[in-house]
């Protein structure tokens, strides 16, 4: 069986996998990182989004062997070592952008990528379009959109956004 070695959340990891093993299966089943979820089997729901070499990708649509040598960040790797949350995590909580929490890891990973790749600002329309690949059944997206808008200035060093309503 192929051997895969990669860096996950800053730490080296390796495992023996079948060639057909998906990255998400490696993370959840071999490495015990169950924060990344599987919500569909047609690569549409986005619950499994992680960052691979800095890019937000669907870990259910990538073979574990394709991630050999890559740097992977999962939802578990976002907070600082002292437990300080990433601003996106913080804003999701502040704006009640999650209910059941199942889509949340993928949503947060996509949202971070969305904000990071829009240094000049993000409109509501851009946020909604940017979430095209992530399904949420609980929130109606309203508060997710708010949370991402609120995280933008924090991630781009513009200080705290105005207090939540």
């Amino acid at each position: 069986m192929p051997q895969v070695s990669l860096t996950v959340n800053g730490k080296p990891a390796s495992a023996e996998v079948e060639a057909r093993t998906l990255l998400v299966e490696l993370l959840r089943e071999k490495l015990g990182l169950t924060g990344t979820h599987v919500g569909c089997d047609t690569s549409q729901c986005g619950a499994c989004v992680v960052h691979v070499d800095g890019m937000a990708v669907k870990s259910c649509t990538m073979l574990a062997v394709q991630a050999d040598g890559a740097k992977v960040t999962t939802i578990e790797g976002l907070a600082a070592a002292d437990g300080t949350l990433h601003p996106m995590q913080e804003m999701f909580r502040e704006h009640h952008a999650l209910q059941c929490g199942f889509c949340t890891p993928g949503m947060v990973m996509t949202a971070i990528d969305l904000v990071a790749t829009h240094p000049d600002g993000l409109t509501e329309e851009q946020i909604r379009h940017g979430l095209e690949g992530n399904l949420c059944r609980c929130t109606g997206y309203h508060n997710i959109v708010k949370a991402i808008a609120a995280a933008w200035p924090l991630m781009h060093g513009k200080g705290m956004p105005a207090a939540a309503e």
Partner: protein
């Protein structure tokens, strides 16, 4: 997914040798292949990963935009050179699938697969691009051979796609409400190869040219020139998301919007 042997060759020659086996499948970005394998709709003995062949990259020179087969959609979408030379192509790439798909999906993978609802085939056909392979150059008109069918032979690997820079071009699609793939996508172009209009998503045989629209637009490049030209619904898809008649109607709407967007 059924299990398979995984190979990541370091040269095109090695890759071609592996892919000469009819039981082997090429893996580019995997955005279609992996979902297909997950559904157990395909059972390759070997999956050949093309990511170490050095096929990614964009060069623009002499009125030609050359895009390496393994160039991801996001790279095309963000490329300043592509945005300048063929903004319609950058914009098409920026709207394929979703963000996560665009980081992994590649132009070569899209064209080799030739999904009837894919976006890139419309650009390739309308712009009259040339598909470069490890063996030859194939012009767009002879490359697409119906749904999921192309001129590629076993062991033949797309290495790059060359797009002549058009005078005007635009792509507008109507996404399937559920899957967000193109239900109807129309690419219009006016360039060195004349006026060309390609339609993706709608047809039962995949991407195709719309000669009636091409003739009208050759006479007069304006959305109004398409008024009154009906698109026949014969040969168009019909499903729970819309009838063939609806798709035929949308072809006209998208074409007009594309012409307007192209300016």
């Amino acid at each position: 997914m059924y299990d398979f042997a995984y190979q990541k060759p370091a040269s095109i020659a090695d890759a071609a040798k592996l892919l000469a086996d009819p039981e082997a499948k090429a893996l580019a970005g995997g955005m279609t292949l992996i979902p297909v394998l997950k559904q157990r709709l395909n059972k390759p003995a070997t999956v050949v990963d093309l990511s170490k062949l050095g096929l990614a990259g964009i060069t623009v020179s002499g009125g030609m935009v050359a895009i390496g087969a393994m160039t991801t959609h996001v790279t095309v979408a963000r490329s300043a050179e592509v945005k300048k030379a063929i903004p319609a192509l950058a914009s098409l790439a920026a709207n394929i699938g979703d963000r996560a798909v665009r980081y992994r999906g590649t132009i070569g993978g899209s064209l080799a697969n030739n999904d009837p609802t894919a976006d890139y085939p419309a650009a390739v056909l309308a712009l009259g691009a040339t598909i470069k392979t490890n063996r030859r150059s194939i012009d767009a008109d002879s490359y697409f051979q119906g749904m999921f069918a192309t001129a590629l032979e076993p062991g033949e690997i797309i290495t790059a796609v060359e797009f002549p820079v058009p005078e005007k071009a635009a792509y507008v699609k109507f996404p399937n409400p559920a899957s967000r793939y193109a239900m109807v996508g129309v690419f219009v172009a006016k360039g060195p190869k004349g006026v060309r209009v390609a339609v993706t998503g709608a047809g039962q045989n995949g991407v195709h040219r719309h000669t009636a629209f091409e003739q009208a637009l050759t006479k007069s490049w304006s959305a109004a020139a398409l008024d009154g030209i009906a698109t026949p619904s014969a040969g168009l898809n019909s499903d729970i998301h819309g009838s063939a008649e609806y798709r035929a109607h949308l072809v006209g709407v998208m074409a007009k919007r594309a012409v307007a967007a192209a300016g």
